[in-house]
């Protein structure tokens, strides 16, 4: 299978006061197209840092990131923004919807910032995704007016609106009751299976990781199992 993301000898270090904290230590990993992978580790293990680096939200202190074989370590910030916009879809534990925008506006937000000419009608696509995820009719509602499970569906719809190759989900069920959590996982599984979208879930929950095809275990900033 074609490689989609490769992290090569990645280190991430912070200064915490006077102490150097190593969040990632020489991490090497490759994720291929169409994979359904989880990154699992306890709190503070560096799994979220790894996800942020994979998702181009953060830069490594050392090491290289390859996207579809291309080194992106040195590309300028606006190119990185464009890649985030077109290539990655994020699903966060806190949903991270913008409360003052309507559900429809939240889903359409990435299409506003895109530099790519879309070959589909984003509005139609957003409505279709809403129907598909069981939140049809909520277009003009607002994030704080709907349930957590529904908010996470909105977030997934937003992650999909640009038709990205990769979806990064950071503890996507962490803020949901178990029923909603199961539904969200099922939805992500379907997206991987039916549409071949590469999905990476970051979790501390073994039962969530067990549902993915591959697990990357991380502890104290080091990958234990690839």
């Amino acid at each position: 299978m074609k490689e989609i993301i490769r992290v090569d000898a990645v280190w991430k270090e912070y200064m915490m006061g006077d102490v150097l904290f190593q969040a990632l230590k020489n991490v090497n990993s490759t994720i291929s197209e169409g994979e359904f992978t989880s990154i699992i580790g306890p709190s503070g293990s560096g799994k979220s840092t790894l996800m942020h680096i994979i998702g181009l939200l953060d830069k490594p202190t050392r090491g290289k990131i390859y996207i579809q074989g291309k080194d992106i370590s040195t590309i300028p910030d606006d190119k990185l923004s464009m890649l985030r916009n077109e290539f990655v879809g994020f699903v966060f534990q806190q949903f991270n919807l913008i409360n003052k925008l309507s559900i429809l506006e939240n889903i359409l937000l990435p299409t506003i910032y895109t530099r790519k000419k879309l070959d589909y009608d984003p509005d139609k696509k957003a409505r279709y995704l809403m129907e598909r995820f069981g939140i049809g009719g909520k277009e003009n509602s607002y994030p704080n007016k709907i349930s957590g499970g529904q908010q996470q569906r909105v977030a997934i719809a937003r992650a999909l609106i640009m038709e990205p190759k990769l979806i990064l989900a950071d503890e996507p069920t962490g803020n949901l009751d178990s029923k909603s959590g199961i539904e969200i996982l099922k939805l992500l599984k379907e997206l991987n299976k039916d549409e071949g979208i590469t999905i990476v879930i970051v979790t501390h929950d073994r039962s969530v990781a067990d549902q993915t095809k591959r697990t990357i275990e991380i502890q104290d900033g080091e990958v234990l199992k690839k």
Binding site: D77, P110, I112
Partner: protein
């Protein structure tokens, strides 16, 4: 296009969501713009009014005034003249055969009495030519004529405001006598209202007009304060003016007499207003700067409040420029809103005072007002906007 519509729409929504904050923040700009525009419009109005007053005297007028009126470095000179004109000068000027008219004027403040009532007025002793020259029209009765001027007849023509104070009905005033400094003069006419006065300028409706020589009764030195000379159309104005000057210089020294036209007065007044206006506008501009600082302050608050939102937008693909434009458009809109409201208030105030004061808002000050407020929005908005744009996506999205 869709992108900018979105940026503006988002800004409008954000500003609308915080209506009170938006209003209070733009208040500084509102006050600044309103004060600058109003000061400009009042200055402009006053200048136009003064020009209008000169223009109403007609064109091709030469003013002959004792002393040096204009200062060497612009502005008027307050020095009182040592020389005084008299009838000899009138005779001398009348040698300028082609002058359309030569009107001698003596004026002074007087106390007028009638019907056991007292008022204060301005005496204008002159010739009958003053009426057409100043576009003065009769309302009741008649104007005095050349014969009455020559015969020193004790007749007067008065402005409507003089009548108002002393008589119940203007018609009843006709042929009655008016006592001026203990002497009686017969009222033969009441003039139509002409307006003016109210802000330091002369109120022409309060004048009492009297034949020149009749006025000698109140002017024992037989002084003439100034001459109004109208140049013929057939001759170049500047040449005529030089002829007037030459005529006057036969008796006086160069610095003892001023021969000027209305353009010189207007330009000198313009200079004085220019300086005055610049000072006033500079004072108004201070409140614009204060308003701008208010905007900058609130934009910093807004950036801090929305750090997480900025992080979300960055994660979804917004570039630093997208965030910069977002906040910049908000500060420009805030400032522009203040500018538009300030301009609106200026239009309102000008409309209210216009019956009493000749102010008007011109296109230029409107453009300056809106341009300045946009500029303030950009200038004071760019620092908070750059702060927002420079936030790292990951720090912003994790901000609690």
């Amino acid at each position: 296009m869709k992108y900018f519509a979105f940026i503006i729409q988002t800004s409008v929504n954000d500003l609308y969501r915080n209506k009170m904050r938006t209003f209070l923040t733009s208040l500084g700009i509102l006050i600044g713009v309103a004060s600058v525009v109003l000061l400009l419009s009042f200055g402009l109005g006053l200048k136009a009014y003064i020009k209008g007053q000169f223009d109403s005297l007609g064109t091709n007028l030469v003013f002959v005034i004792p002393g040096q009126i204009f200062g060497s470095s612009g502005g008027f000179q307050g020095m009182r003249s040592a020389v005084q004109f008299d009838e000899q000068d009138l005779i001398s000027l009348r040698k300028l055969r082609d002058a359309i008219f030569i009107i001698p004027v003596f004026s002074k403040s007087i106390k007028v009495e009638a019907n056991a009532k007292t008022d204060y007025s301005t005496l204008f002793s002159t010739t009958e030519e003053i009426f057409p020259a100043r576009n003065l029209e009769i309302e009741y009765g008649r104007l005095f004529d050349k014969t009455e001027v020559n015969k020193r007849t004790k007749v007067i023509v008065i402005g409507p405001k003089v009548v108002e104070k002393l008589f119940d009905n203007p018609i009843l005033a006709l042929n009655k006598s008016l006592r001026i400094e203990g002497q009686s003069f017969k009222i033969i006419g009441v003039l139509k209202a002409k307006g003016g006065g109210g802000f330091g300028g002369p109120d022409f409706d309060k004048f009492v007009y009297m034949p020149l020589k009749t006025g000698y009764a109140l002017n024992p030195d037989k002084k003439i304060a100034q001459f109004l000379v109208k140049a013929p159309d057939t001759k170049q104005f500047e040449i005529f003016k030089t002829e007037v000057k030459t005529q006057m210089l036969k008796r006086y020294k160069d610095d003892e007499v001023t021969v000027a036209d209305s353009a010189e007065f207007i330009s000198t007044i313009g200079q004085i207003f220019g300086v005055l206006n610049a000072v006033l506008v500079a004072i108004g501009a201070v409140s614009l700067v204060v308003g701008g600082i208010g905007i900058m302050n609130i934009m910093y608050v807004s950036v801090t409040e929305r750090i997480r939102e900025i992080g979300i937008r960055r994660a979804l693909g917004a570039t630093e420029k997208d965030i910069l434009y977002q906040f910049l458009s908000e500060s420009i809109l805030l400032s522009l809103l203040g500018g538009i409201m300030g301009l609106g208030i200026s239009f309102g105030v000008v409309a209210i005072v216009q019956p009493y004061f000749p102010a008007y808002v011109d296109l230029m000050s409107s453009i300056i007002a809106l341009g300045t407020s946009s500029f303030i929005g950009i200038f004071f908005g760019v620092f908070p906007a750059r702060k927002a744009a420079a936030l790292s996506p990951i720090d912003a999205i994790r901000y609690e």
